[in-house]
């Protein structure tokens, strides 16, 4: 079928090596340790929330890209996941705003 890739097309997308997986796991462990560490450092308290969110997002991205193979798989798979992920994030922020969790604007 000309429009279809060959049946083996899916296998063409090589996944990471075991060494890469282990490295990613080590980085995840390191970030987790940092996450727990920063909450005990008083000097970081003004920026602790964005810091934690950034580290959480980094861990999320590492798992999605390497363990879930989005980095190696065909692009549409990223599209059907990242699109809803962004939508869910936007709606969640809007919901929190509208229910008064953020004082962006009052009722």
């Amino acid at each position: 079928m000309s429009d279809h890739p060959s049946p083996a097309a899916d296998a063409v997308h090589e996944h990471a090596s075991v060494r890469t997986y282990v490295r990613v796991a080590l980085i995840l462990t390191l970030i987790t340790a940092l996450e727990v560490g920063v909450i005990y450092i008083r000097q970081l308290s003004p920026i602790v929330v964005p810091l934690l969110l950034a580290m959480s997002a980094a861990k999320f991205a590492l798992v999605a890209m390497f363990f879930m193979h989005l980095r190696y798989d065909v692009r549409p798979l990223s599209g059907v996941f990242v699109g809803p992920l962004l939508l869910a994030t936007g709606l969640s922020v809007a919901l929190m705003t509208l229910t008064g969790a953020f004082l962006v604007f009052g009722r």
């Binding site: 079928m1 000309s2 987790t32 798992v63 809803p84 969640s92 919901l95 929190m96 509208l98």
Partner: protein, 814 residues
């Protein structure tokens, strides 16, 4: 041509019956079994259509009772309580059990034919979706039999629906029934997204797909992304009613607006779920009967996508009267006005398609043009509501009832009826009576306008909606009477439709394959099509491929014939299966059990698990299922799990958002900082992260055929998952000892529901991993099964990433 499984729908069930029947009763039994076990998309489409029509008659009967009650002032035909149940079940039935499944009938029957496929990506999942829908619909309507029909409105606003104000089973039927129906819709949504993206015929690029297929695709994305929002709301409501949580308990810090937000985050996209399929149908009918291509087809497609996308940004226009404040009102007002632009574009494109065309005034065209006229009226009154001050005047009045029905009958139903008249010959092999059809159309058209146009006026002069009677001095009597007369006109129209259909089935003119000189691929095969749809996968020469094949392009140049490509694997058709109906029955029994006894829930759960297990392993060893690579270069199952995980993002996103919104609202302790054990949770988080490492090692081992390592890592992943669950159980126990329960405060309610749902996902993941491990031990997990391991792995990693977010926002962020 090799045919595995059944090549002809209805032949294979003899296997279940024990051989060819010899008696009339035997033939009847075989026919019944063939329908119960069918996985043929066309038959499932017919089942959806017939079921939807039956529910439509029930919902229509409820509407007629409503209209009879309002026909004259101070009427006492039904009580106020019965009236509440009638308008609740009318709305719920028409939205979830009639219009949506009518659309599903067309999706099922037509989408594979239109894209040149032999079936949907997951035929048994398709059957499961149907049976869950049917049982969900029957469950909802069974409420009438036990004298407890839902009576809190189709929107189910808390606090009306809390146990305090609705103590009976009425609302329980509603919230459980909707959750069952939601499961069906999401399964079907995932199935059709994969089918459309991954199973198109050679040459059928995305922009060559018929507009109906595009609108189907957009609708399915709306379904998988919108339904989780109402599911979250229904879960909260269920926990408030069954387990005494505080999500909507204002005294405990809860917020009633939360329900409205969750409902309308779903509810407004739902409007487009109902209307976009009709837009797709009209976009097929108009070019056929104007005998010219759809004007600006790509723009119509982009407009549909934009409508779907904007649909998620306008939900709070349903809440202008709730007091959200000027900024929120302004934002949603602007977004609502914006959405009129792509909708208007479609209207103009349809009109331009008709302009200068050689019009064939068939009944289908009548309905399509009817949609343009009536939907425009409904759309214009919708723009009025986009202005908060105007909306304040119109909300909860009959003006809104008129607007909504112009959109959902004048738009959705008229579009679906256009499709009914257009594709009936393809589905049945018989023509409908066009003369009777035209009479039926005009009766419907006049009846509809007589029913709903006066309701604009009734609303404008102050008649509120959802009142069961009114005084004679209000001045509402005459137009209410006219509205009731019109409603019976619609009823007569539906009866004539039924007569036309039955006459056609009994002795209608035999339909040729292409009775309308159609443009798309479904007209290229016989009427009705064979079980395998096409003897050879049809070539695609561009948009309106079949038209080009017959008549050439605008200059009459016909494409060079493309030789048929034989399918290298022969024609593989799916075998019928009992497991979809068994699994669906398990779910329905579990839902019913929630209203009867916990033992019945257990029974339903056992049937559900056994059914799902058998369902999953039924074709495990079938080599025809080993490779399912499609147009996108990805396996169907991988694409499906990614779409499902996208849907899960919405579910967990809204659960987490609720936790954060409620985090500091508990009026009594314990509060998060007093009780959360960060060191312990850090260890369990590390455990779950490492389980993801083991999972990828397991997948790598299966891919290289290393059985010992595969077994080791699969078991290791499951073990780490169990350890995580152990940590969670220990944490929950500690919290309960320290006074934090589901019922203690808002923090307890949100914390246990969020982390409990995550724990439920981990439990399912462990069950899947152990299943793979058992298969491996029995030597039934080979390199060819690597995709199955990958799919389970993706689910497992998703559970991991959700926990990464929960760990940060629940435990670490102060």
């Amino acid at each position: 041509m090799a045919t595995h499984g059944t090549g002809v729908a209805g032949a294979e069930p003899a296997r279940f019956y024990g051989g060819p029947p010899t008696t009339r009763a035997g033939h009847a039994a075989l026919a019944t079994i063939s329908w119960i076990t069918t996985v043929d998309h066309k038959r499932i489409g017919i089942l959806y259509g017939v079921s939807a029509f039956a529910f439509f008659l029930i919902g229509g009967g409820e509407a007629l009772l409503i209209r009879l009650q309002l026909a004259r002032p101070n009427n006492a035909l039904v009580s106020a309580e019965t009236y509440n149940a009638l308008f609740t079940m009318h709305g719920t039935t028409m939205v979830f059990l009639a219009i949506m499944p009518f659309s599903a009938a067309f999706f099922n029957y037509l989408v594979p034919l239109m894209i040149g496929a032999r079936d949907v990506a997951f035929p048994r999942l398709n059957a499961l979706s149907y049976w869950i829908f049917l049982f969900g619909g029957l469950f909802l309507n069974a409420s009438f039999l036990v004298g407890a029909p839902p009576d809190g409105g189709w929107f189910g606003y808390a606090s009306l629906t809390l146990r305090q104000y609705s103590p009976g089973m009425n609302i329980d039927f509603w919230l459980l029934g909707l959750q069952v129906l939601g499961a069906s819709s999401i399964m079907a949504g995932v199935n059709f997204i994969v089918t459309i993206l991954n199973m198109r015929a050679p040459g059928m690029t995305l922009m060559r797909m018929p507009v109906f297929v595009w609108m189907t695709l957009t609708t399915q994305f709306l379904i998988v992304l919108a339904f989780p929002a109402v599911t979250v709301g229904l879960i909260f409501l269920m926990f408030d009613r069954f387990f005494g949580t505080h999500f909507f308990d204002v005294a405990a810090g809860g917020d009633l607006h939360l329900w409205q937000h969750l409902f309308w985050i779903f509810g407004h996209p739902e409007v487009y779920i109902l209307i976009l399929p009709a837009f797709g149908i009209v976009s097929e009918v108009l070019p056929t009967f104007a005998r010219k291509p759809l004007f600006g087809a790509p723009v119509v497609i982009y407009s549909g996508i934009l409508i779907g996308f904007f649909g998620f940004g306008v939900w709070s226009h349903h809440m202008f009267a709730a007091g959200m404040g000027p900024v929120a009102d302004a934002a949603f007002s602007i977004a609502t006005m914006l959405i009129a632009i792509p909708t208007g574009v479609k209207i103009f494109n349809w009109l331009a398609t008709l302009w200068g065309g050689r019009i064939q005034p068939t009944v289908a065209l009548h309905y399509a043009v009817g949609l343009i006229a009536l939907f425009t009226i409904g759309g214009l009154s919708g723009i009025m509501h986009a202005s908060p001050p105007v909306d304040q005047q119109q909300t909860d009045s009959y003006f809104i009832v008129a607007h909504m029905h112009y959109v959902l009958i004048g738009g959705s139903l008229f579009g679906l009826l256009a499709g009914f008249y257009y594709w009936w010959p393809k589905m049945t092999g018989r023509m409908l009576d066009e003369r009777l059809g035209r009479l039926q159309f005009w009766i419907m058209f006049v009846g509809f306008n007589l029913t709903f146009f006066p309701q604009h006026y009734l609303g404008a002069i102050g008649m509120p909606r959802r009142i069961y009677t009114y005084d004679a001095g209000t001045g509402w009597a005459f137009w209410n009477l006219m509205s009731t007369v019109g409603a019976f006109g619609i009823g007569l129209g539906i009866v004539l439709l039924l007569v036309n259909a039955l006459r056609s089935l009994r002795g209608g003119t035999v339909a040729p394959a292409d009775p309308w000189d159609g443009r798309t691929l479904e007209w290229r095969t016989s009427s009705p099509p064979p079980a395998h749809n096409f003897d050879t996968i049809p070539p695609v020469y561009g948009r309106d491929s079949f038209w080009r094949e017959k008549h050439g392009d605008s200059r009459g140049r016909k494409p060079a014939p493309v030789p048929a490509t034989p399918d290298p694997h022969g024609v593989h058709m799916p075998s019928p299966s009992f497991w979809p109906i068994v699994t669906a029955a398990g779910l329905a029994i579990a839902a019913a059990g929630a209203l009867i006894h916990i033992a019945v829930v257990g029974l339903g759960a056992v049937i559900l698990v056994v059914g799902a297990w058998a369902f999953a392993l039924e074709h495990h060893r079938n080599p025809a299922h080993a490779e399912q690579i499609g147009n996108l270069g990805a396996d169907h199952r991988k694409l499906a799990i990614w779409v499902f995980l996208g849907s899960e993002c919405m579910l967990f996103g809204l659960l987490i958002a609720t936790y954060l919104a409620y985090k500091s609202r508990s009026v009594i302790g314990p509060h998060p900082h007093e009780i959360l054990n960060i060191p312990l949770t850090t260890i369990s988080t590390f455990d779950l992260l490492m389980s993801s490492l083991l999972m990828v090692l397991a997948l790598a081992a299966v891919q290289r055929g290393d059985r010992r390592q595969a077994r080791l890592w699969l078991l290791g992943t499951a073990f780490f998952g169990l350890v995580f669950l152990g940590f969670q159980a220990w944490e929950f126990t500690q919290f309960v000892h320290e006074g934090l329960t589901l019922q203690q405060n808002l923090f307890g309610s949100t914390f246990f529901v969020l982390t409990g749902f995550h724990g439920g996902h981990v439990t399912l993941g462990v069950a899947l991993l152990l299943t793979l491990w058992v298969l491996e031990r029995r030597g039934r997990l080979t390199i060819q099964d690597a995709t199955k391991v990958e799919v389970v792995g993706l689910y497992w990693h998703f559970v991991d990433v959700v926990w990464i977010v929960i760990f940060s926002v629940v435990y670490l962020i102060p």
